[in-house]
């Protein structure tokens, strides 16, 4: 592990939460806008409500470990968002948090494995897979890019940058897809040509992982 890389501790997860909350706040209207033509125009408001609640809960009584922090964020999303994204993102983070275990810090490899467990949890709960035009189309490429970068010896910051790029490309790649899950699927062929709001918010959450690491390194 490079000396310039931050420790993956509770503090890191809190920085991630702050960066994610700020990004959701900033992009909230855009997410709702994306949810209008192929959804019900609430994804920005949903995500904002969830991350505001999670930030408040974590700020009030910050858990000690990265795993417990992530799990708390997940529970808050489940308890405050509603909609499809609440249980799905909630499950992503609860599963990932549980997979991180009880240690005060984790390794980049452990983070990657935990994220993969979380994403699998989403697919399982949502009975969905890659190509359905959902958040999975940003999440799967992100964990895969993260894994390969780490495998090929990249440092954490570089690997998270690769994950971010993969997530953003994954979100854009949903444009030509026809939706097979979620509300957009009701539109059939009319869902083609629009970017999935959940894939877009997923890319924001992945980007925040890098921001939190970069800030830690500075």
């Amino acid at each position: 592990m490079n000396a310039f890389e931050p420790a993956l501790d509770g503090e890191y997860v809190r920085r991630w939460l702050a960066a994610a909350t700020a990004a959701i706040e900033r992009e909230s209207d855009h997410l709702t806008e994306l949810d209008s033509p192929i959804g019900d125009a609430d994804h920005g408001a949903n995500m904002r409500r969830g991350f505001t609640a999670a930030s408040a809960a974590v700020g009030k009584e910050p858990p000690q470990t990265p795993g417990a922090t992530l799990a708390l964020v997940g529970r808050q999303l489940i308890g405050s968002v509603g909609g499809a994204s609440g249980p799905l993102y909630g499950t992503l983070l609860r599963r990932a948090g549980k997979a991180l275990g009880d240690g005060p810090t984790v390794t980049p490899g452990e983070l990657c494995t935990a994220l993969r467990a979380g994403v699998d949890g989403v697919a399982q709960l949502g009975r969905s897979e890659r190509g359905d035009k959902t958040m999975l189309d940003a999440l799967y490429p992100a964990v895969e890019a993260l894994g390969s970068a780490l495998d090929s010896g990249a440092g954490l910051v570089a690997a998270l940058a690769a994950a971010r790029t993969a997530a953003e490309e994954g979100a854009v790649a949903t444009v030509p897809m026809q939706a097979r899950k979620g509300r957009a699927s009701y539109l059939g062929e009319r869902s083609i040509g629009h970017q999935d709001p959940g894939a877009t918010s997923a890319a924001l959450l992945i980007a925040a992982l890098g921001e939190a690491a970069g800030e830690g390194a500075a």
Binding site: S36, D40, I78, G79, P87, A179, L187
Partner: protein, 328 residues
């Protein structure tokens, strides 16, 4: 919009429901609306819920002979599991609870989580997923058919069975049977405006309409040039009858999406009756009004529910809720 701020629309409405309906227990903070007498000794409890914006569904259907509790989410956003777990605890008399869930990914996921939590707390939970909307056809490549107007029939008929003292498995069986016998089709003449967004959810130029819409302001399967009430009834009824192929009488719900005047809706009802009659389908009961709405959307939906004598008796049984009331 007639609101204070978008953020408080749901709790504001709950305070207004509490003020208008002393026969309901409204917990504004936790967002659960419960029939005052709940839990009713020995009776199966019926809990439904979903995004707000479809009023009177569901809170308007809480009361004797229908729901025991309703859990309203944010506008067009399913409620969170906590609400349903609380509602289940509040209405369970030991006879168990039926969750009535409209088939949307969010509703299904949140209710499933709530069912798990409630069972952990010792409440026996059965679930029925309502999916009556024929506009969504290809279920292998979609999230499945949506739950729309059929929900009213499931809540009324299963509610009447529960009120008669039927046990949980029978109430759940009736609910599923009713869902199987219900079909709906919706049409939008305008989009709706959510408080959070403040502008129409989609662009629909005057002189065009959307066929096969849901109840969340999403566009439909197809856009067409404006049609007459006569033509719309033919398209809707044809889709329903072809899919359900009823061989007995039906209950009909001619439903307004929110902004269509009752004057127009009654005119449309005449066309729906004509269209059903031309296809040999007798209508034994008709409900015309705004029951399963989409905020201020102009448009309508038609639901038919094939009803044997048993279901007809359950339909005619007394009901006493803010939005549906007869016999008491």
């Amino acid at each position: 919009m007639l609101i204070n701020v978008p953020e408080t629309v749901v709790p504001d409405a709950l305070r207004g429901i509490a003020a208008a309906h002393p026969e309901l227990n409204v917990d504004v903070a936790t967002r659960v609306v419960v029939r005052r007498e709940a839990p009713v000794e020995g009776k199966v409890g019926l809990v439904s819920g979903g995004g707000s914006g479809h009023e009177p569904l569901h809170a308007g259907f809480v009361g004797r002979g229908m729901l025991d509790a309703a859990c309203p989410g944010e506008v067009f956003t399913s409620p969170v599991p906590d609400q349903m777990t609380r509602a289940a605890a509040a209405v369970d008399s030991g006879a168990g609870v039926l969750f009535i869930i409209k088939n949307y990914t969010g509703d299904v996921l949140n209710f499933e989580m709530a069912a798990e939590l409630a069972e952990d707390e010792g409440v026996q939970v059965a679930t029925v997923v309502v999916n009556d909307d024929v506009a969504v056809t290809d279920s292998l490549y979609t999230a499945g058919r949506r739950g729309t107007g059929g929900t009213l029939f499931v809540e009324k008929l299963a509610g009447a069975a529960a009120e008669e003292g039927a046990p949980l498995d029978r109430v759940a069986m009736i609910a599923r049977q009713v869902n199987e016998r219900c079909r709906s089709f919706g049409v939008a003449l305008s989009a709706c405006t959510t408080p959070a967004k403040g502008s129409p959810t989609f662009d629909l130029p005057p002189g065009e309409l959307e066929l096969g819409i849901g109840i969340h302001g999403e566009p439909g399967r197809e856009r067409r040039a404006m049609m007459t009430s006569h033509e719309i009834a033919d398209v809707a009824v044809e889709a329903l009858v072809e899919d359900l192929r009823p061989d007995g009488p039906v209950l009909a719900l001619v439903n307004g999406m929110g902004a269509t005047p009752l004057l127009e809706l009654y005119g449309f009802n005449a066309e729906v009756h004509r269209a059903l009659g031309e296809r040999g389908v007798p209508v034994v009961r008709t409900l015309v009004g705004n029951y399963v709405t989409s905020l201020d959307m102009a448009g309508c939906s038609v639901t038919i529910c094939e009803a044997d004598e048993d279901l007809l008796r359950l339909w005619d049984a007394p009901v006493r809720t803010p939005a549906l009331r007869w016999g008491c």
